[in-house]
């Protein structure tokens, strides 16, 4: 079931960067790609509990700040050790300058 929530304003996220969004006891990561698209994933690395929002966005990769594990934040695909489990992604849309994600 769809459940769209407002995560942030468009301007809250720099280009090629990520911010943290907490909602209902869950943590998400909101990304803005170099070509100005928005994406959302779970906020924690699947390897160990580290906030991906403290990591580094490079092109379509988010690198975890703790062990440098890499994911494709568009697809959630884990790109190799030390991350082996894919990241959950969420649908995103932009409406009236707000970034909305479907956490349903």
């Amino acid at each position: 079931m769809q459940e769209w929530v407002e995560a942030c304003a468009v301007d809250d996220v720099d280009e090629e960067d990520v911010i943290r969004f907490d909602h209902g006891g869950r943590t998400f990561a909101i990304y803005r790609s170099p070509d100005d698209e928005f994406f959302a994933t779970d906020g924690f690395c699947t390897h160990e509990k580290a906030h991906l929002a403290d990591g580094l966005v490079m092109d379509d990769i988010i690198e975890c700040p703790k062990h440098n594990g890499r994911f494709n934040y568009k697809t959630g695909q884990a790109k190799g050790a030390p991350v082996c489990v894919n990241l959950k992604t969420y649908p995103v849309k932009v409406e009236a300058g707000k970034v909305m994600i479907d956490i349903g």
Partner: protein, 366 residues
Amino acid sequence: MTMTTTGTKRDYSLVGESTRLAIETGLASAEWYHTDVPRKVMKELMQRCDGPAIRDSVIWISAILGSAAGIIWFWGTWWVVPFMFVYGVLYGSSSDSRWHECGHGTAFRTRWMNDVVYHIASFMLMRNPVQWRWSHARHHTDTIIVGRDAEIAVMRPPDLIKAALAFTGILDFRYSLPTLVRQAFGKLSDDEKSYIPEMEQHKAVIAARWHIAVYVATIAVAIALGSWIPLMLIGLPRLYGTWHMVTTGLLQHIGLADNVTDHRLNTRTVYMNPISRFIYWNMNYHVEHHMFPMVPYHALPRLHELVKHDLPEPNPSMWHAYREVWPVLLRQLKYEDYFLKRELPPTAKPYRGEFHDLDITAAAAE
């Protein structure tokens, strides 16, 4: 200077009593202290580029090939000694920092460049590239947490003979080669299985087989040529060139606290000369590296300037650091809980109880 004599016996196995205690008390996979650095500044520091590592790798590989040529050319004369000195350090010591930085994926921006250098350096070090990638991840999760960290170089009470022999590479060689042979036969130890995920374990076996195959080929070439030169160039530099890696690497954590979750307490930054910093790829800024492992080696001096107000004052030299450590090691022979607690500058946030379970007012030498 105070100390305690509680007589704690540490179990350094990764599947033993200390492991259970570390997990139960929350020391394992804990939240660690970080100096505040604004996101924009950190983002800038974390930026990757290929330029510095390509430059350094060209110098590194050129020096390796040049000194190897010198060894071959001057073999059988005393002139071979300086070339072996250079080649040995480049092969047996600087490979450690290349392995380390490329393992983190921070040296180059381009992933395959990190991977290529990582595998070459792992081979030079006789380290299984799969096993050590995971052991190092654990080292960063649980730095010097007894029963969790697979890379504690000097355990307590310290074995000083073993530490001294480490400079010769003999013990490491004696451990690394049989380990690779065992792994090549498909056998991983319980400790290795504790930090290598099951789905990755077969890769460790394959990597070990490749390494052993190259060593067997090298021995075959040496026998066919009736010459020691192939072995002097491949394998044996792990013995005669490892001293610089040990000299710099031991200082990372030796004599400092264990079982704490603040890198300022268990990790050391040491100012070093430019040659050692090239060989070591700036890992002398080790507190900074542990706090922010995303920052590439070439940005660590900048990071150091930004956070040094919050860190213990660095040792001004390796000599100074070893002079500081030596009496601590001697004391630990009798009182293994004893450690060196380094002073924070007045500008630093204090060591905070909630970031570690150890009572740092006890067992500490200030």
